[in-house]
């Protein structure tokens, strides 16, 4: 039963969707503060390459190395996004151009490739990996076993994060202030909230999560370093944020949906089921456009739309 097509697809959906979710969660956190981060793809790649390097070079037990690699990947992501924050919040540059600059700078023809080259990351195996493990021995249970009880530790972490970040955003005082910064920085400023600090912090945290997503690619999914290995996952994550209406719960489901679509094509082909893989590949992007059109209407905009100040640099009147 567990080799049933649906079960396999569901399990893959979660597996492939997890890094998308991390990056998208980072995107939610960043965008809720009003900053549009288009540098996610590049950030993820930097996370992936530094994580892979760490996995190859940090001595110690497997657990320790993996943990250290995750930490280093997240740090790389955080630093990259700190740069974005500096450009967007302090220098008030056009956020789109800044994000693109980071993706080019860090991406497949940029720094990540450069580091990989210099550190010779691709030349050795990455054997300290993030592996799936059997939870409480339930990994073989019918249906739910492979889907829920046989995933990587990071997947379980992501589930905790959904609850945690949702709680933070909608039930705590800081979450309220963050959302105020994203909806109306003038108001937040007038109420004594430090807009600059909120934007910096949340952009950096978002970057760390993107870095985490990148590490997942080089240590779990592939798992090794390949130049440009995220292959657009960063862009999909950006789309996911919209698709998930800037809410962690829906975004998780969206990530699994996109993850399913990603793995669906090859899985079906292996089973000789003939559905055009291209249409499936294109589906996430079409869906995002549809969602975007729907939420841009006047009715939906207020209830479901983007944080109102997204992408707009905040300029306080002179003090």
């Amino acid at each position: 039963m567990n080799s049933n097509l649906v079960v396999i697809i569901a399990a893959s959906a979660i597996f492939y969707g997890t890094p998308l979710f991390f990056a998208a969660l980072g995107g939610i956190i960043t965008e809720r503060s009003g900053v549009l981060n288009l540098g996610v793809e590049g950030t993820m790649l930097l996370g992936a390459v530094t994580g892979a390097w760490a996995s190859q070079h940090i001595p110690g037990s497997a657990w320790f190395t993996v943990l250290a690699s995750i930490f280093i990947g997240m740090t790389a992501g955080a630093l990259t996004s700190a740069l974005l924050a500096f450009l967007c919040v302090t220098l008030r540059t056009n956020q789109t151009v800044a994000g693109l600059a980071i993706t080019i700078f860090a991406g497949g023809v940029g720094l990540s490739s450069y580091f990989a080259n210099i550190w010779k990351v691709a030349e050795g195996p990455v054997d300290r990996q993030i592996r799936k493990f059997d939870v409480l021995g339930l990994g073989d249970s019918p249906i739910v076993g492979p889907i829920i009880f046989n995933q990587t530790i990071l997947t379980y972490v992501s589930w905790v994060l959904v609850i945690g970040v949702s709680f933070y955003l909608f039930r705590t005082r800081f979450g309220l202030q963050l959302r105020a910064v994203g909806e109306s920085p003038q108001t937040a400023d007038a109420m004594g909230i430090d807009v600059v600090k909120y934007r910096y912090v949340h952009t950096i945290v978002g970057g760390a999560l993107a870095g985490l997503g990148g590490v997942y690619y080089s240590l779990a999914i592939v798992p090794t370093w390949v130049n440009g290995m995220t292959r657009g996952a960063g862009w999909i994550a950006i789309a996911l944020v919209i698709f998930g209406f800037w809410r962690p719960g829906i975004t998780l489901l969206g990530a699994y949906l996109f993850g399913a679509l990603q793995s669906l094509g090859s899985t079906l082909k292996a089973r000789n089921v003939n559905i055009s893989g291209d249409i499936l590949d294109a589906l996430p992007f079409f869906m995002t456009i549809v969602v975007l059109v729907l939420i841009s209407s006047r009715f939906a905009h207020r209830r479901l739309g983007a944080p109102a100040s997204l992408g707009v640099p905040y300029e306080r009147e002179e003090r």
């Binding site: 202030q177 105020a180 109306s184 007038a190 006047r298 207020r302």
Partner: protein
Amino acid sequence: MKSAVRMSGVVKRFPGVVANDGVEVDIRAGEVHALLGENGAGKSTLSNILTGLYRPDEGIVEINGEPVHFSSPRDALDAGVGMVHQHFRLVETFTVAENVVLGEPGSPFVIDQSRVAQQVAELSDRYGLAVDPSARIWQLSVGEQQRVEILKVLYRGAKVLILDEPTAVLTPNEADVLFTTLRGMVAEGRTVIFISHKLDEVMKVSDRVTVLRGGRTVGTVETARTDTRELASLMVGRSVDFARVTRTNPVDRSTEVLTLDGVSARDDRGREALHDVSLTVARGEILGIAGVAGNGQRELAEAISGMRSLTTGRIHVAGEQVQSGRARSAIAKGIAHIPEDRLHTGLASSHSVEDNLALKNYRSRDLSRFRLLRRKLIRSQADELVRNYDVKTPATTTPVRLLSGGNVQKVLLAREFSSLPKVLIAASPTRGLDVGAIETVRTRLVEAAEQGVSILLISEDLDEIMSLADRIVVMYEGRIVDDVDAGSADRQRLGLTMGGGTLSGAKS
């Protein structure tokens, strides 16, 4: 009597202007103190300093006798000073309760929604500020939103409340309710600073008045011992003449130039802003449109000038119908429009003077051929207009936003008048201008009327309307509620109908 707030020698400069030039203000605890002045007198700047949004370049601010240095609005709130802004600082997508509790330092890590709602309900009952704590801001009326602003300030235990032009968006009835609320707060020991430019309100609600002019204090008086004439003259610096302008050519009512027939339109939020408006303006007649801002005047101006589509009704100019919602049609039929928002609607502010002067006629054969602009002709048109209308600008290529307010208005006048329109809509044409510029604008308007232009004068300044208009209509909630000949108009009656009251005395 102790000073609740004292500001002395306060100076604040911005690029190009000195907003406060050595202001002296002394506000006693437990009083309603009015800060009176025209637009640009420095009232808002002063209050922004008091609430920590601006830092003074020079001077001392004291709260309860202690000097303070606010570096942020939070500092001011901590010191017990809270401001209710003219332009609300509310997050539209949040609820009332969320807005009230936002940024409050004492609030707990996890927000207890029901507790906050309860506290808000308590406060709103106590002060008569009825509002639903779980409503979202975009669902509320302007008056209700203002109540939320006041609740925010009260929630933080502010002892000193500053209200910046609070009645600008209220009907006279709502304003009276507000005044009662304010007196109630003062009776409890709080202090209220009431910023306004409206003489009668200041007389009604305040204990003392400080008058600002040109960034300086020109006097502080006890309200009981003064009257509107004295205040007005302090405010403008000379005795103000409310006399009516005399027209040399009496208006011939039979020559109808502009007709509106059952016109309705929606506002930006999709709500009905104009209901079944019908009016006519004769050739050379100045029709004054009176009313508190926000009763559909802007939508009326935009409907006639083609910026806004009509949901019902028709508009005709000299017998020809104007296409609904098509500004080009309106321009072609001879409708000119000097909008309220000069720099962002009437002008492209980063563009040059000459480009803006050509903003409406760049398509005409005089200025372009084969879709190419004829720059030389645009330049010469600009030179001529700048000369004729005495616009002070370094060059015709100077961006319009660098000009002073009066000169910006002159550019608009030059463009709109020189198009030889049949109809001119002038919305708040003298707001924010200095006295000399005001005279110029008014003179030009009357001149145009004398030459046969039908003018719609939309203004919140009842005195201006009464002195310039031939006929006055009053707009209230998107309808025309009164129509009188200006010569026999009575201020009381107009004030009443502006507030929605009916002439028989009962409220509509």
